[in-house]
């Protein structure tokens, strides 16, 4: 798993990380055709293109098929508890701004059991890239409805179809204070997926990317309507947002020029039900990051700690008779 030291040395010489450097020696164990595979590829490309040092990169996840992601990256990984990926990632980032933090989570992991953490993570706006693998189903536990499952979907816990309209992760995120980067991608448009993840990574703050992800195992034809008819995908283009290659804009003619600075329009686009918007819905680089707001003015050296402790002790000290009997204020 960990490349031998000698290799690391070589790195220092020719400075170049290759795709291979980001692949762990555990072969991905997702089903064939699973959208997670494409997301993994995109992220490994990103690491290569941004030349992220594997030892300085941390992938935090919860539990779910998507949360197996960190096992397949050659980087530090934290495959934790169902729903708790975000607070763990916040703890990692707080005192280690030098680390690149990524979070991979599922629609159940993030939007169901993890919903409270999700809302508050958006508000903390810590500098990390969050990939919501939204396959609209519980994959790992074998096909139960998720909050994002479309109404009427038959699953093992809803054999007669789900009862409610799906939760919309985009409108919820856009309703939270300090939202600073909100985007949507689809695993079947790898080029846009890559561009969006790249911009998400480069955005300083909490970058939330909802990725529509196929689960052939349990929902084989789920996204077919959108796959068959590119016109049902609306690509959001803008100089500050996504820019399409000629090829892409030829297939996806349904495009909207959307300024990521426009929150109200972003909310309207996010609310679309029939069409799937792809691109950057909202970006605001002005929102401060929690880790910066909480950074201490001075490093916590032993000397400083001693000084402060003595100051505090002084306030509470009773001195022996020889010394001044009065408390120091």
């Amino acid at each position: 798993m960990s490349a031998p030291l000698t290799e690391c040395m070589l790195k220092l010489i020719d400075e170049e990380y290759t795709l291979h450097d980001y692949q762990s020696d555990i072969p991905p164990r997702w089903c064939t055709g699973c959208g997670d595979n494409g997301i993994l590829t995109a992220v490994q490309r990103l690491c290569r293109d941004e030349q992220l040092a594997p030892e300085k990169t941390v992938f935090v996840s919860g539990i779910g098929c998507s949360s197996r992601f960190p096992h397949y990256m050659n980087a530090y990984g934290f495959h934790g508890l169902h729903g708790r990926a975000l607070p763990v990632a916040e703890g990692v980032k707080l005192r280690r701004p030098d680390l690149h933090v990524f979070v991979t989570t599922g629609d159940g992991d993030c939007c169901s059991i993890g919903a409270a953490h999700w809302i508050h993570a958006v508000r903390y706006n810590m500098n990390m890239t969050v990939l919501l693998h939204d396959n609209q189903i519980y994959g790992l536990t074998k096909m139960q409805a998720s909050p994002t499952s479309p109404r009427g979907l038959k699953s093992n816990t809803t054999p007669r179809g789900t009862y409610l309209d799906p939760l919309n992760p985009l409108t919820v995120t856009l309703g939270v204070a300090n939202a600073s980067f909100v985007a949507q991608a689809a695993d079947w448009i790898p080029e846009a997926l890559y561009d969006i993840i790249l911009q998400a990574y480069r955005h300083k703050g909490f970058s939330f990317v909802r990725i529509l992800q196929r689960c052939p195992e349990f929902l084989p034809h789920h996204f077919d309507p959108w796959l068959r008819d590119p016109a049902k995908m609306r690509l959001l283009v803008h100089p500050q947002g996504l820019q399409l290659s000629a090829a892409l804009s030829k297939t996806y003619r349904n495009q909207e020029v959307h300024d990521p600075g426009n929150l109200n329009r972003a909310r309207e686009i996010a609310s679309l039900t029939d069409e799937i918007p792809v691109g950057i819905l909202y970006r605001n680089s002005q929102v401060p990051c929690y880790e910066d707001l909480r950074e201490g003015e001075r490093p916590n050296t032993p000397g400083l700690i001693k000084t402060v402790l003595e100051e505090e002790f002084d306030k509470f000290t009773i001195w022996p008779e020889e010394q001044d009997g009065a408390p120091r204020s």
Partner: protein, 656 residues
């Protein structure tokens, strides 16, 4: 690995100083002052010499009895008395005036020697109205012949009902043998301040200084200290009230008690348990405290929030306890050993997270300031109800280290030790305290800062070739862990069963290997523990075993019982999981063994409860299982610290 344990009481070399010495400078100054105010010349009053007194000051909340009591305690401490102060906390946020549930104040036990608990019933109580006084009577907190100093203004209250109630209570209490002194507090205070209701408490402080012959210089210095953030006018007004109270007592009260005192040779600090915890967090070198507010733990976080930033560190108030725990785990994983502070309900919520830390072998310090349970229970009250949940709360086999702080001083050192243990063994270390330690104050030797309290800087060196993140040592179960940033150490930590390379382990052997090594670490740590010393005699008729905040009360009870001639001793445990060796041998040297715990155990009196179904106190349960000795238990769940007197009673009864 060596750990500095500070459980033994601190040796306290002192120089004696007894009796009331009105001859001294300060008092003469006051006498003069009294002269000036043209009152009757101060009568020389013989001071009754006593070994200790318990004094309570109670009022409606907001009337300042707490500040008065704390100041009184500090003055007494600075004068050289042994003290222990206990907060009397109203059950309601903002209770109605003159209500029983609203009683707020402070209990100060002052003695000629160092004391380790709040003692029994009060000898003297100062009450701002008869209702708060009643609440103390009802709670049986006053000695039969307790001295009462009561604000007298209610006798003439315009509201007839109030006046009647006041008169009635006075008559009844006098009839019942209490020694009542009615004091025109506000009437005197208006002479100096416009709103006497707000100044009263300093007037009372003056009274008490006179009654207990406390050094007036120290008293004045204390008042200045208390109001240091206010402007001079406020300070002067309060000094005046202090003096007025002192004078009034000198002239009008026939009460003087002399308690010998001796100023310690080395500096002491006076803080409560929660402040000690917060100071311990700073001193341990931890950089992150992730918490969610919950009584009674919160005040520790309050104080820590105040000072932690000064050393460049962070108190993070998370969205809930689960997030707080996960946040702390993330910080620890990234090399910054973190602490999460909570109380009962929070502990229940953190159980899943703690299991992950155990499985991932991530060092983590968890502080549980216990309160009354179950469920929301009695948030402001003391109980030792979380021991078994701390040991066994999570699903699956999740070995953790559980320790408890026995004194306020111990709160400070326990956190430092916990951080060290956590990082040495890559384990979860729980530190249990409770509401009674959280708010009690007592002087202890000012700590001498040591660099080795602190965590070493995060290791960012490259991991050796082919090294594995869980390369468990077959003898100790210990494994070096790799921290993000270390080249060559990349791996994926997981809560799933995993092998030495942290890969998901599907086969039976790998699963058991992990479980075995995580369990082994507990044994390895257990081997480092010293057998705790027995207090009293090495053998005898009865051994009392305790843990946590009950230490002071138990040992005082033992002293009294031994003075009566009973062959009773005490054993106090700092580490509850694992437990030190030698405890069984200690217990075997006594005919009977009984735990004293501030938690529930079934009484065997009813017709339903028998040996087949009796629910034992937590520690008794652990000792019985481990050592197969018939350990009996006695406990209360009254929401307050156990009194030494109560223990004496129980023991006398059991020894019959």
């Amino acid at each position: 690995m060596k750990l500095r344990m500070r459980t033994e009481a601190f040796p306290n070399p002192t120089r004696e100083r007894t009796g009331c010495t009105p001859g001294d400078e300060a008092a003469r100054g006051l006498a003069a002052a009294v002269g000036k105010t043209g009152g009757a010349a101060p009568r020389r009053k013989p001071a009754v010499t006593v070994d200790e007194h318990i004094v309570e000051i109670v009022s409606d909340s907001g009337e300042g009895a707490q500040r008065c009591g704390q100041s009184f305690g500090s003055i007494a401490a600075r004068t050289g008395h042994g003290i222990w102060t206990v907060e009397i906390i109203p059950a309601e946020i903002q209770p109605p005036a003159r209500s029983i549930a609203g009683t707020s104040g402070n209990r100060v036990r002052l003695a000629s020697r160092r004391i380790m608990n709040g003692g029994d019933e009060a000898d003297l109580v100062v009450a701002f109205n008869e209702q708060v006084l009643l609440s103390r009577v009802r709670a049986d907190e006053l000695k039969a012949d307790c001295l009462i100093l009561l604000e007298s203004k209610w006798r003439t209250d315009p509201d007839a009902a109030i006046a009647a109630s006041y008169a009635h209570v006075c008559d009844e209490l006098t009839a019942r043998g209490y020694r009542l002194h009615e004091i025109p507090m506000e009437r005197e205070c208006v002479k100096y301040v416009p709103d006497p209701r707000r100044g009263k408490n300093m007037f009372v402080l003056g009274l008490l200084c006179s009654i207990y012959c406390l050094d007036p210089d120290i008293a004045r210095a204390q008042v200045r200290f208390v109001f240091r953030k206010k402007d001079e006018k406020v300070i002067d007004a309060n000094l005046e009230l202090l003096q007025a109270g002192y004078e009034w007592a000198e002239v009008n009260l026939d009460l003087k008690f002399a308690i010998s005192s001796s100023r310690p040779r080395e500096p002491q600090i006076v803080v409560n348990g929660n402040t000690a915890l917060a100071l311990g967090v700073v001193a341990s070198g931890m950089e992150v405290c992730a918490m969610y507010p919950i009584t009674p733990a919160t005040s520790a976080s309050h104080y820590l929030s105040d000072i932690f930033e000064k050393v460049g560190c962070v108190v993070h108030q998370a969205e809930d306890e689960i997030a707080a725990c996960a946040f702390a785990i993330g910080a620890s994983y990234a090399g910054k050993c973190a602490v999460t502070i909570t109380s009962g309900p929070g502990l229940s919520l953190k159980q899943e997270g703690l299991g992950l830390a155990v499985m991932g072998e991530i060092p983590l310090v968890v502080i549980d300031v216990q309160r009354g349970g179950p469920s929301t229970g009695q948030p402001t009250k003391a109980e030792q109800g979380d021991l078994l949940a701390a040991c066994f709360g999570g699903h699956g086999d999740a070995p953790k280290i559980v320790m408890a702080a026995a004194t306020i001083e111990d709160c400070f050192y326990s956190v430092i030790a916990a951080r060290k243990i956590a990082e040495t063994f890559n384990m979860v270390v729980m530190v249990l305290t409770d509401a009674s330690l959280a708010t009690a104050q007592q002087p202890f030797p000012r700590p001498h800062f040591r660099d080795d309290w602190l965590a070493p800087p995060v290791d960012q060196s490259a991991a050796p070739d082919g090294a594995k993140p869980y390369d468990w040592d077959p003898r100790t179960g210990l494994a070096a862990r790799f921290i993000p940033g270390q080249p060559n150490g990349m791996h994926c930590l997981t809560g799933l069963a995993h092998d030495r390379s942290s890969r998901v382990a599907y086969d039976p052997e790998a699963n058991q290997e992990g479980i075995r090594h995580r369990s082994l670490k507990l044994a390895a740590f257990q081997r480092t523990l010293r057998t705790p010393a027995v207090f009293g005699g090495e053998d005898g008729d009865l051994l009392l075993v305790g843990w946590g905040s009950t230490k002071g009360a138990i040992e005082e009870a033992v002293e009294r019982l031994r003075a009566e001639g009973s062959r009773v001793s005490a054993l106090h445990l700092k580490f509850l999981q694992p437990m030190a060796s030698g405890i069984k041998e200690a217990m075997q040297r006594f005919d009977k063994v009984m735990t004293i715990e501030n938690n529930w155990c079934d009484r065997v009196d009813g017709d339903l409860i028998d040996g087949q179904n009796r629910r034992y106190s937590s520690l008794a349960w652990l000792l019985r299982a481990r050592h197969l000795i018939d350990v009996d238990c006695w406990g209360e769940a009254r929401g307050e610290a156990i009194k030494p007197g109560a223990i004496v009673e129980v023991v006398r009864h059991r020894l019959q």
